[in-house]
């Protein structure tokens, strides 16, 4: 069931020990480009999210990670349409509910009490004309009319302390009086105020300074271990996944191309794209390692290559890759990859004096 409070040296969790919180099957999302045309942005996603775990959706621009994350809560922009598939969510009562079948009012209640979203660009997400205290009250009141003002104040203070902010200082302030890092943490607190089971974060540390990022990461880690919610976060920053994730789903061309435990992702990746991504990130610690770019650039939605979406950029591509699309299949227990030659893949990083 729920995983124990994790320590910093987290061990890979045994995910099959509990029942999933969210079950996603064959999910596809399209964006409408005209009255009758649409492009496919997310394709055939099969993913289970377990209670208390932290999953990273990793990929570059246009891979569909943000779309997928928002689709789980049906928070797609106007032009987004779920064209296929199902999303089922286990309520606190134990009953499985079909997220796609929810009506407007039920969806609204679902969206903050059972699950919540924390967007990137914390600057724009808080109402500049309302004090932080008022934003908490408004959020809580929209979903829990029974809470007294005093209790709401208490709850807000509780959460602010959890994100390492001083309630006395922050509650009476306006958003512009707080720094970017503080605002991001306020957003985190707001996202957790109703104790949701699932929290989706979109690029939680982008646009923050390094030291602020570190504090947000520590706060997230601590929050998860104390509150045991399931966390899905979208990021293009691979090292962030290494910090926070239990499992990593690498996405490319709208599909999940690799899904496994975080240690497997970084020490034993099996998909050429994941390998390429890891090799493209220069580490700070230690002697310089070989750093390589991936040739070409991510495909646009209009011109997805035939067969495996990655094959034009793949150093290991063979004839079959231009024709057939590799399915996401287990290559090791708990480790799925979408590559016909996954068994032959491995990560080798040679130390080299950076000769750039």
């Amino acid at each position: 069931m729920a995983s124990p409070a994790g320590d910093i040296l987290s061990e890979p969790r045994d995910h099959n020990s509990g029942e999933p919180l969210v079950e996603i099957r064959d999910l596809s999302v399209d964006y409408r480009t005209g009255r009758k045309t649409a492009v496919s942005v997310v394709k055939d996603i099969n993913l289970d999210l377990y209670p208390g775990e932290s999953v990273a959706l990793v990929g570059e621009s246009g891979c569909g990670k943000t779309t997928l994350a928002l689709a789980i809560l049906r928070m797609l922009p106007k032009l987004g349409v779920i064209s296929k598939g199902s999303i089922r969510f286990r309520r606190r009562s134990g009953e499985m509910m079909d997220v796609l079948a929810l009506g407007k009012e039920e969806l609204r209640r679902f969206r903050w009490a059972e699950s919540s979203v924390v967007y990137q660009g914390a600057m724009n997400s808080l109402n500049p004309l309302m004090r932080i205290q008022a934003q908490f009250v408004e959020t809580i009141r929209a979903h829990r009319k029974d809470m007294s003002s005093a209790r709401m104040h208490e709850r807000a203070a509780e959460l602010l302390k959890l994100v390492q902010l001083d309630p006395e200082r922050v509650l009476p302030a306006y958003p512009h009086e707080l720094s970017g890092g503080m605002r991001q943490r306020v957003l985190l607190a707001l996202g957790l105020v109703l104790d949701p089971q699932l929290v989706v974060l979109d690029e939680p540390t982008t646009a923050l300074d390094i030291l602020t990022q570190r504090s947000v990461v520590e706060v997230l880690r601590r929050l998860q271990s104390e509150l045991h919610f399931t966390m899905v976060f979208v990021t293009h920053d691979l090292p962030l996944a290494a910090e926070l994730a239990d499992r990593v789903a690498t996405m490319y061309g709208g599909r999940i191309v690799e899904l496994c435990d975080v240690h497997e992702t970084f020490y034993n990746p099996r998909h050429p794209y994941t390998i390429g991504l890891i090799k493209a990130v220069p580490p700070v610690t230690g002697d310089p390692l070989e750093v390589l770019s991936i040739a070409g650039s991510p495909p646009g939605f209009g011109d997805m290559p035939a067969g495996c979406a990655f094959h034009p950029r793949c150093a290991f591509a063979q004839e079959r890759c231009a024709v057939d699309e590799p399915p996401l299949e287990p290559v090791d227990p708990g480790h799925d990859a979408a590559c016909f030659f996954a068994d032959e893949m491995s990560l080798e990083r040679k130390p080299v004096v950076a000769d750039v």
Binding site: Y31, T33, V39, V41, S61, G62, G64, T66, T67, P77, K78, L79, Y119, Q120, G121, N124, S125, D202, E203, T206, V234, G300, F301, G302
Partner: protein
């Protein structure tokens, strides 16, 4: 979740949302036209405006100018012979409408052209160069703005003989530029901080090239909107002048028709409704179609107004 302000020609997609605009058809002009014609109001506005302008400019060459006066047929109701009825002399109204647009439209266009050229030239230079030049231009603009346009026209008409359409156009143009100049100046002030303008300065392209090639093309729709606004304003002023009989009263055109309707007592005669209303309606259609055209131009420039 609010999105950051888009640039004048919005080309990038906000993070996370895929950039799915179609990319066929290269130039900015073609994609602009396509965007314009995509909205219903833009489509209708564009064609109606174009047709009215063409009719106004060239209509008289297509209509038999022999518009006889039949004193028996004063203020006739529309019939198969006279689709819009007749005027106070029995002349066909429709023919007068088709043939009578030239003065109004030409004066409107020329006045708008004069206003726009003054506004764009001085507004952009003032914004780009800044400093003393900018201060002077702003002061002069504010001064001219405070002068009430229409009363000034009235006063001038008492002293000048406003019988030439060109003079009228120049006069209207000379009064219509201040608002436009401020708008252009504000736009250039914001554009000149753009990275690509700075990059042009880094490769030392020079003031003229920067204004003409870096700034103007990126303000093209904005300038067009201002041009149309100027024309709308000039046509309003013209209608007023004609009504009061202060504009050149020779020949026949929409303005003169309005004036005649007033002076020849059409208001007191219930049969004359069509004669009275026809020029008013056609001018209104011109204005409305130009507003529709402008609205969809604005939607193109400012994507936040669009449905997305």
């Amino acid at each position: 979740m609010s999105q950051p302000l888009a640039s004048t020609t919005a080309t990038n997609a906000p993070a996370g949302i895929p950039d799915v605009k179609p990319t066929r058809g290269s130039g900015p002009v073609r994609s602009f036209l396509r965007a314009l014609l995509r909205s219903k109001t833009g489509f209708v506005g564009f064609w109606v405006f174009l047709l009215l302008c063409l009719m106004g400019l060239f209509g008289q060459y297509f209509v038999k100018t022999d518009n006889e006066a039949h004193t028996n047929d004063i203020y006739q109701f529309p019939s198969s012979a006279h689709w819009l009825g007749t005027d106070f002399e029995g002349k066909d109204t429709l023919k007068q409408i088709i043939a009578g647009g030239q003065d109004v439209i030409v004066v409107g266009l020329v006045a708008a052209l004069v206003s726009t050229i003054i506004a764009v030239a001085f507004g952009s230079l003032a914004a780009y160069l800044g400093g003393a030049f900018d201060s002077v231009v702003v002061q002069v603009t504010d001064f001219v703005l405070t002068v009430p346009q229409f009363p000034l026209l009235l006063v001038l008409s008492a002293y000048l003989q406003l019988d030439s359409a060109v003079l009228l156009a120049l006069l209207l143009g000379a009064l219509g530029w201040p608002t436009l100049l401020r708008a252009v100046r504000a736009q250039v002030l914001s554009l000149k901080e753009r990275e690509y303008v700075e990059a042009a300065r880094l490769v030392d392209l020079g003031t003229t090239r920067i204004i003409v090639r870096e700034l103007m093309p990126n303000m093209a729709s904005y300038i067009l909107i201002n041009f149309i606004t100027a024309m709308t304003g000039a046509v309003y002023a013209l209608a007023g002048l004609y009504l009061l009989g202060l504009a050149p009263m020779s020949g026949t055109n929409w303005g003169i028709m309005i004036n005649e309707a007033w002076t020849k007592g059409a208001i007191f005669n219930s049969d004359s409704a069509f004669f009275l209303l026809s020029p008013l309606i056609v001018i209104s259609i011109l204005q409305v179609s130009s507003i529709w055209l402008m609205r969809s131009l604005e939607e193109i420039i400012n994507p936040r107004l669009r449905e997305a």
